[in-house]
Every structure is written in C-alpha cells, then in structure tokens.
Subunit: 341 residues, 2 copies
C-alpha cells in the first residue's frame, strides 16, 4: 500500500514535470513583451538562461539567485522629486500642529511659506532636518498609518495618479521573469526602508524582508498598559546610497547579487560590487532619455543635471568600460506605464 | 491542443494534491520524535496546527509565517563560554603577531599570559576590546577564511567535538517541523551576525539572509587593482540582544514573528514583542536543568548564575504570567545530541 502510493506519486510527478516543462518553454518565448528587441533585452535573457540552465558552466544554485533593484528612477518615476520627499513636505503642517514652536524655525518656516523658489534652495542639511522631523519620533504603527493615508490620496502632478501606479511595465516584467526563474528580487533603495516596505509587496510583489533601504534605528518601549512597541528614532543606521548600497546588501542579505539594476551615480558601487563577483553577472542602468513619454535628464543626455538621479557622463563611460548594459527608455521600451496603451 | 494540456495538468495536479495530502498527514504523526509527550511538545503542535490549517480562525498566510530562534543556549550549547568568545580569544595571538605593540597593552597582555583567573576577571569593556580587535579591521573574505579555519579545527572541551555538532536534536526537529509547515525560520542572536552566517546554513538549514545578529558596519573600498571589497569596521550597528532583538527583527525582517524561542533574559523583549501580536503566538524558553546530559545553570535552577545565559527567577515568573512555555531539557527532551544514542 505504502509502496503503491509512493510509486503513483513518482509517476504523477514525472508527468507534471513534463507538462510543466512544455508550458514553461512555451511561456518563455514572450516574458518581456514590453521590451523592443535589442542589446538590453538580449542581455537579460542571456543572463537568465546562462545562470539557470542545468549543466550550464555559469549555473547558479537557486539559493544564491539574488537580484537587486534600485527603486526611484529604476522601477518608478523619480522626477521631478522623489515621492518620499514629497511625502515629508506634505507632512510638515501636521508636525507643526503638534509642535507649534517649529513654525518660526528654519527650514520649517520656509516650507510653510509656500515660496517655491525659497523651498527649491533648501540645503541637504535642511532636507535632513525635514526628514527627521517627519519620519521619526513616532511609533512604527503611527508611521504606517500616516504613510498609508498619504499613499492612498497623493497624486503625481503630471499624470494625476497615485505614485504607486507610476511603475515601469518593462521593469515589472524583469522582476517577474527573474522570479519565475528562481531569483529572489530585492529592492536596494536610497529611500526610506520603512516607507518603501509600505507598498513594495503590493506594487512589485517584493515582501518587506526583501526591501533594503536607508534605515533609522528604533527604540523598544512600553505603553502605559505594558504593551511593547517600537518608536522610530532620528538615528541613522544605514545610509543606503552610493557605498552604502553594497554595505547594506552585506548587512541585510549577506550574499553578493548576481544581477543589479540602477539608474544613477548612487547605484555605481552596487553595480561594481555585483560585477566583481565570479561567474555570470548582470549590471544594468536605466537611462532617462524619453522626454515625451517620461523624462530626459542628466549630463549623459547633454541636459542639465537634475537634483535627482544623476546619470553622469563618468557613469556612462564606466558602464561602457565595465560591460554594464545601458537601457534606453526611448529605444528599449515599447511601453512605459500600465495605464498607457 | 493547448486546452488538452492544461486540462491534463489540472487533473494531474489534483491527483498530486490528494496523494501529497495523504503523505503529509501520515508523516506528521511523528515530526518531533526526540520530544517526550508533555505541555511543551503539545504547545508546538497546537500552534502549528492552529496557524496553518485552512479555515482555522488563527490561520496565518504563508508569507507572514516567521519564527525566530536565539542561538546560544537555545539551538546549541553556550556553556561554559559562547563559542564565538572562544574564537576571539583564540585569535588574539594572531592579532598580536600582526600588531606586536598590543602585546604589552591590556586586555591583550592578560589574555596572552594564559592566567585563567585573571582572564576570568576581565570586564565587559575588556571583552569588547578583544572582540573589536579580533573581528574587525579585515576584509569580509579574510574574516570568513579565518572563521572557517577555526570552525573546522576547534573542539569543545567537554565533548571533544566541533562546536557545530553541539546542536540540540529536539530544536533541529522544531526548525524542520516549522519549515515543513511553511514557516521561515530565522536566527536572532546576540552573537556576531557574520560569524553565525558562516555555518547557519550547514548546521540549521538557515541561509545567511535569515540570520540577524549583532552587526558591525563595513566600509566599501578598492584594492590596488581596482577590485571592490568590504572591510569590517569596529562600528557597532546593531547590538542584537535584549531590546536590540525586536529592534533587529524590525530592521532586518520588518514583520513580527509568530513564534519565538530563547533561553535567557537577552531574549525577553523578543518574546514579549512576539506575544504582543494579534492571533495565535508562541513564545518558548529552554531551561538548562540537565546537569548530567548537558548543564544546569541560572537562578531559576536555584544555582549560581553563570556569566552566560541568565534564566533569572524574574524571567521564569514572567513566562508563567504571560503564557510563555518553558522547555525542561531534562523532562521534555528524550535525546539531546545527534552523536548520543
């Protein structure tokens, strides 16, 4: 009896394998339908086939299949301002309501003035003060409730849609294609880890434990009723940008990625670190060169550097030199957003 | 043709589900064979059934099934000294060879003297100096090579075996039982994250990205040839003990565990935080009360507190008050080590 069940199971599993294999081969012919044929699409497919085909000299065991993605400018729109920075500015009135003494203190006074020119001139130091005031000093639950409210109601000024709809369809296809081939996809973002974790699962299918971002510490404490809770502290643990990206990957994942995707100088070290590993590695950079469908910015476009997402000429040269693949939004992507035809 | 294949696949998958279900029910009758029948074993089985049975009011979706385990004293022997502390002491001669000026500086002078009484009296501050000197200031690859050499050669003084063999069979069964039911098992240790990641996969089946531990920062840099590498820095990012455990869980996982296992006051906050979540939660503490087969120590045993693993009377009282389950090594475990009958 026992033998019979096992035997049956083996036969049936064999049948499933054959059928599933047929299905997979069939489906794989078009897993990146929003990509035009070209070097970028080819590089992705070649990488996946080389690292996941049994018997390939570049085969990577499933447990080691890690792919990391920058978020702002790589998976969704970052121009003209990171959505999280917009969130922080939007939160300033509530912070001042809770602490009226800040109304006459810079940089809050300038933010409240609504004077766009003055706001545009705020320094990085000012920006950090605003981030600290709006993102910390509250329980993690209160933070989540506030962020959720904003994510549900805020709209991008150009497309008049929730920020969470402004993701790039071709990159969503890459995420799914990699996952269908046993890769675990991580976000490695300069943005706030807690903020991105709010929506990464719903928007990208990336669960909280696979989001690495700029992180502040928390402090464990108790309510009056003795219930434990965590408070977000204005203490920076990880500045997950530039060199902070490989450092954050080492801290949070402890494995070197086999593929990494970025779009700016903030991703340079992550791509270097990825490519420096043994075997087949993929490093890709999204170039924003489509002023009509999205934006075109950065020196590599011969255009003035924006405050965000600086794809410098030096980065472009390094990509060419080190075999990183540059993705042209204009040439490589058939379609950018899901809400467009 | 397409329809036929799909149809066939559906039928065959249905057959597999029925067969697999039969197999699982059969296998589940004895997934914790090294546990004696009693409240502890019952609590584990009851928790797993309540949280993984479809339709149960306490059902937990697979993505949220997180279980966290302290390591030293919970998954393996911590007495008379944490293995990582032994490693650090063993590394002191090599550190002094590289930096001879330390030979006459405390606490290194005392360690080199070999005077056990003097060594036993070293302060926590001294210990931190030794940890910093022996665990940082080298590339992560050099650290891994050194740690591997030691793990392969070092032997526990009582059992004369590699430390990696001194894991508790009943706890290994709990890890496997939880994983077989869709739980992801994490180590959350006061020990060094990098050190535990060296062997956690081989010893417990827990991959590096599921090890949360005390972590120092790294610094990204380049070799003379321009190859990027990470250096371990003497900068503490996360002291993953006491309140640091829930803080570390929030940072690295971003989800509250449904089950948590510990053995000392260092695990108290992790267990509190776990139990404070909604729905069915399991909190368990291993009590070292088996002087013959392992060790008996700590005030809850009416014995002098050891320097490590303090299971205080207050912790014992809190466990009783808050419904945490105490595991008696002596009464609950049929067998402790795999190398014993």
């Amino acid at each position: 009896m026992k033998w019979t069940r096992r035997h049956l199971l083996a036969v049936v599993l064999g049948a499933v394998a054959v059928l599933a294999w047929g299905t997979q081969v069939h489906a794989q012919t078009d897993q990146l339908p929003s990509w035009n044929e070209g070097a970028a699409k080819q590089a992705i497919v070649k990488f996946v086939e080389a690292t996941t085909t049994q018997g390939s000299p570049k085969f990577v065991p499933p447990a080691e299949r890690i792919a990391t993605f920058d978020q702002d400018g790589t998976l969704w729109v970052e121009h003209p301002m990171y959505s999280q920075v917009v969130y922080c500015f939007d939160r300033v009135p509530a912070v001042i309501k809770a602490k009226p003494e800040l109304a006459n203190v810079e940089p809050f006074k300038t933010v409240m003035s609504g004077n766009r020119d003055a706001i545009a001139k705020l320094s990085m130091d000012d920006l950090f003060k605003i981030l600290a005031a709006t993102l910390t000093g509250m329980s993690v639950e209160d933070f989540r409730a506030e962020a959720k409210k904003w994510l549900d109601s805020a709209r991008d000024p150009r497309w008049k849609r929730p920020y969470t709809e402004l993701t790039y369809v071709p990159m969503q296809e890459v995420l799914k294609y990699l996952r269908a081939n046993g890769y675990r996809t991580y976000i490695v973002t300069g943005g706030g880890q807690d903020f991105v974790r709010m929506y990464a699962d719903e928007v990208y299918g990336i669960p909280p434990e696979q989001v690495v971002g700029t992180a502040s510490g928390t402090k464990y404490g108790y309510t009056k009723n003795g219930e434990p809770f965590l408070t977000k502290e204005p203490k920076l643990l990880l500045n997950d940008n530039n060199a902070g990206k490989p450092e954050g990957i080492y801290l949070m994942i402890g494995r070197r990625p086999f593929a990494a995707f970025g779009n700016s100088t903030g991703d340079r070290q992550m791509l270097e670190y990825t490519k420096a590993g043994a075997g087949e590695r993929l490093a890709m950079l999204v170039l924003h060169d489509d002023a009509q469908r999205e934006y075109a910015y950065g020196p590599a476009q011969g255009l003035p550097a924006s405050k965000v997402g600086t794809f410098t000429q030096a980065l472009y040269d390094q990509a060419k030199r080190e075999g990183w693949v540059v993705i042209s939004m204009k040439k490589d992507w058939k379609r950018i957003f899901s809400f467009e035809p």
